[in-house]
């Protein structure tokens, strides 16, 4: 057996399972779900082709589609900058010469690796109107706290607050990026009389812009698929259907799940899945285009 043939043989032996897995669990479901999105499929009967009706229904008639789009976008627009900002601020602090850097890094990272379902349940308890820790503390100060978890106004902000405990991944990635910025640059700038802000603005920011970009893209995709947090929160609050009150926390991913596995509107849910996929493609594409203008990839 010649060298080239042997190499091809071993390649497929080693990478084969992963390629099969890719075909079976990613590629095929993608195509199948495109087909299902043009079908009426309610599980009991086989899928029946109905053209674009699912999409038309979602855009024009469905009561939950646009509210869930809005919830997801509001969450993203508020949560993402806050989380990225907090992650960057902490990374800058920890990039100073501090004692016990490893310890601090671990403490700030820890909440990010814990189950989101647990955070939703624990915070749900803390934010409860009666018996929750927050309102009892407010009462000590003579303030009558709102019904945070059952009010359509407050439920989404509460989820945003909860999700802010999870900035560990971008923080650690920022730290990695900051540690790659050459020290000499700062020293040179310092000698030239640049202040802290100038050094941050003209050295740190351009040099870590690829890392910022990476974190924004990952965070964006992350917020488009929020599920565990919102679902667990709904259950912990004993809401009759997930995503309440009054659809205030009906994230897109939660709505999709509910359509598919709550009501068995699987064709409709497939249309939602494809819209989500198309949206992610477009957003990622725009991101890469825009990034050319401000991301600085060095030499």
């Amino acid at each position: 057996m010649n060298h080239r043939r042997a190499e091809t043989f071993w390649f497929w032996l080693f990478a084969g399972p992963a390629v099969v897995g890719f075909a079976a669990f990613s590629l095929w479901p993608m195509l199948e779900s495109l087909w299902l999105s043009f079908c009426s499929y309610e599980v009991i009967a086989p899928p029946r082709f109905i053209g674009l009706q699912n999409y038309a229904y979602l855009f024009a008639h469905d009561l939950s589609f646009w509210p869930s789009v809005k919830v997801t976008l509001v969450f993203t627009v508020i949560q993402l900058p806050l989380a990225i900002g907090a992650a960057l601020a902490l990374a800058l602090l920890l990039n100073q010469p501090v004692r016990g850097r490893g310890f601090w890094r671990a403490v700030y990272f820890l909440p990010s690796i814990l189950p989101q379902a647990v955070f939703a349940v624990v915070f749900g308890y803390i934010f409860q109107a009666d018996g929750g820790l927050l309102n009892r503390l407010l009462a000590l100060g003579g303030i009558h706290g709102a019904a945070w978890t059952t009010s359509p106004t407050w439920a989404l902000p509460v989820l945003i607050v909860i999700s802010l405990w999870g900035f560990g991944y971008p923080m650690v990635i920022f730290l990695g990026g900051l540690q790659n910025v050459p020290r000499e640059l700062y020293e040179a700038a310092h000698i030239d009389g640049a202040g802290a802000w100038a050094r941050f603005r003209h050295i740190t920011l351009p040099l870590i812009s690829p890392v910022i970009f990476f974190n924004v893209v990952m965070g964006l995709i992350g917020s488009l698929k929020v599920f565990d947090l919102a679902y667990a929160f709904s259950v912990a609050q004993a809401q009759p259907t997930p995503g309440g009150p009054a659809r205030a926390t009906l994230f897109y991913g939660l709505n999709l799940y509910q359509q598919a596995f709550g009501y068995f509107h699987m064709g409709l849910a497939s249309a939602m899945a494809w819209l989500l996929f198309a949206f992610i493609l477009v957003v990622t594409f725009i991101n890469f285009r825009v990034s050319r203008r401000w991301v600085h990839y060095g030499d």
Partner: protein, 286 residues
């Protein structure tokens, strides 16, 4: 480097301490609540500490509500998923790192694209297919994808690490007559233990913390894993406690939550440095 002023130092540490307290506060409240009695959680203004720590709460949920079952289910799924991930992701990473095969980059790029694919996009056809072959309400939909290289991120991370091993090591082993399989498991993997460990932890976290997939595929209460078990308990807590309590027994709910979190914290305590550095490395190359 210039020195920091004393005021700046105080501010820095004060911020760090304050921030850390905020980060840990919900966990502390969870733990404290899990050790209280039912009357204590109702008290207003709140009782900060339990008068006497109620460790019995742990026995109550563990045995009384058969919580050990959910725990063992979670452990079983996690172990199977980690085993499959290692057994298929290491060879795949090796293949993508060292072999020169046509369209290799294209295939690898296609695999990487799946990282952007939310589970919600593929779940409906997968559910339909798994139902057709009677895999729904078994662990197979959770485990089998891992045995087919389902952790693409793991393949990526291992490949990056494998590529830093000098080619000459591998060529030397080949000249000695070692098979590719032997080179992978006896040479490359042992030299890459930090990366392998990072992949194991990531895989464990995804499996242990996942709510979505078990919720979709597992229906019998005896099969569900911890996150679903926690929600089951909350939904039926009043019934489970015989309706003797007027409201949700949050002390017991927090006990379950603590049981779920402790293995993750213990694991993290042992490997945090390696793991955090592994995470940092993912962003550098993007």
């Amino acid at each position: 480097m210039h020195r920091r002023s004393p005021t700046a130092t105080v501010c820095l540490y004060a911020t760090l301490v304050l921030g850390a307290l905020v980060m840990l506060a919900p966990l502390a409240w969870m733990l404290l609540t899990s050790l209280k009695t039912y009357p204590e959680i109702l008290r207003n203004p709140p009782a900060w500490l339990p008068a006497k720590p109620q460790w019995e709460n742990y026995r109550t949920v563990w045995e009384g509500f058969a919580y050990y079952r959910f725990f063992l289910n979670s452990v079983f799924v996690a172990v199977m998923v980690i085993a499959g991930t290692l057994l298929t992701c290491c060879p795949a990473a090796y293949a993508f790192a060292y072999y020169d095969v046509r369209h290799k980059e294209l295939i690898f790029g296609a695999l990487l694209c799946t990282l952007m694919l939310p589970a919600q996009v593929t779940v409906i056809p997968l559910f339909k297919a798994f139902a057709a072959i009677h895999w729904v309400n078994t662990y197979l939909p959770l485990i089998v994808p891992a045995w087919l290289g389902g952790n693409v991120f793991g393949i990526f991370l291992l490949r990056q690490f494998f590529r830093t091993i000098p080619r000459s090591f591998i060529e030397a082993a080949r000249l000695d007559g070692a098979s590719e399989w032997t080179i992978l498991w006896r040479l490359v993997v042992p030299m890459s233990l930090p990366a392998v460990l990072t992949v194991v932890i990531f895989t464990f976290l995804w499996s242990w913390n996942d709510l979505f997939n078990p919720l979709v595929y597992l229906q019998s209460e005896s099969l569900v894993t911890l996150p679903v078990g926690l929600l089951y308990f909350i939904a039926r807590a009043e019934q489970l406690t015989g309706g003797s309590l007027g409201s949700t027994p949050w002390h017991l709910v927090m006990t379950l939550a603590t049981v779920m979190v402790v293995p993750v914290i213990v694991l993290f305590a042992f490997v945090q440095r390696r793991f955090v550095e592994g995470v940092a490395a993912t962003g550098v190359k993007g």
